[in-house]
Assembly symmetry: C2
Homo-oligomer: 208 residues x 2
Amino acid sequence: MNTHIYPSKLLENAVEEFAKLPGIGRKTSLRLVLHLLRQSEVDVDRFSETMIKLRHDVKHCRICNNISDTDVCTICSSPRRDGTLICVVESIKDVMSIENTHQYSGLYFVLGGVISPMDGIGPADLKIDQLVNKIAEGNVREVIMALSATMEGDTTNFFIYKKLKHQSIAISAIARGVAFGDELEYTDEVTLGRAIINRVRFEAALAD
Amino acid sequence: MNTHIYPSKLLENAVEEFAKLPGIGRKTSLRLVLHLLRQSEVDVDRFSETMIKLRHDVKHCRICNNISDTDVCTICSSPRRDGTLICVVESIKDVMSIENTHQYSGLYFVLGGVISPMDGIGPADLKIDQLVNKIAEGNVREVIMALSATMEGDTTNFFIYKKLKHQSIAISAIARGVAFGDELEYTDEVTLGRAIINRVRFEAALAD
């Protein structure tokens, strides 16, 4: 859609702004902006001010880097959490995904990404030193690496493993394998190969 | 995704606001909000203030109801436009679509919708009186109805036709037929039937 056909510069500006968001093209952007135009001024003000407030006021937990409204997040400050377990994840989204499983009651540590030379992200761009310092305090019994099952994730796992292996803690990684509901025929050979190597005793699998 | 897993109320509020937009679910909303969080404060402020400014400052052309930054829109005020031709459309989006074809140099009239009893939209909810008054001024030679090819569009066409038929103007409707590139096999019978009834002489078709 050519830009010169916008009947209004204000409309065009708004469409441009929405189109900067990931996955939002110009057509979707126009649809969203025209929707906003049909809402009341109060509603549009609230929408916009919520984003401004979020960006200005949101904090990152000084212990785990998770998003938080307070200096220390609700997970790190909860007495019901097992403070001897730390799950290392890439992003806030991963914390939310794991929380959603209701299967984990330890704490988290948000790295802020994985080592990816292609994207110019080195170890120094991540919060690895902060993690090492936290472990050095001595209260942690096990670190669970829960990074992406990619080459970048594996590289980061290995880098952190080397940094932590001299400490007296257990270091584990979340299980890789065939996902529930997947048919073997459509599982890639790397996953299937690893699933065979890392097979578990049937009694253990039943206990899940 | 359960709401209680949001690590921050500010984040939750922002996700809720985005998720109110049409076609944006909670997962997409979270992705967009986390994207905004990674942008600079200046960028998020500009995004938000653009929406506020649009909603507060945008005008509707007092002649055609199209969106405009001024009292009379750029189309209605252009000396290069044929003021004797009025194309009646449902929405601002339709104006933009037709402008995009570069095949029309008359003016527009935005009705604001079509008559749709199911949605509680009657003739009084549309700008039909304003259209009738405009035609009564006497400068218009032809009204082109360009509403949706739906029952609601047809009903509205007919309602407006009845209001205008005593005026000395031509009333036309945009052609319905088989779209360019469509195979007859996959064209629905109503469209195909109308396309046969409203066939044009081959020479005329060639001239397009």
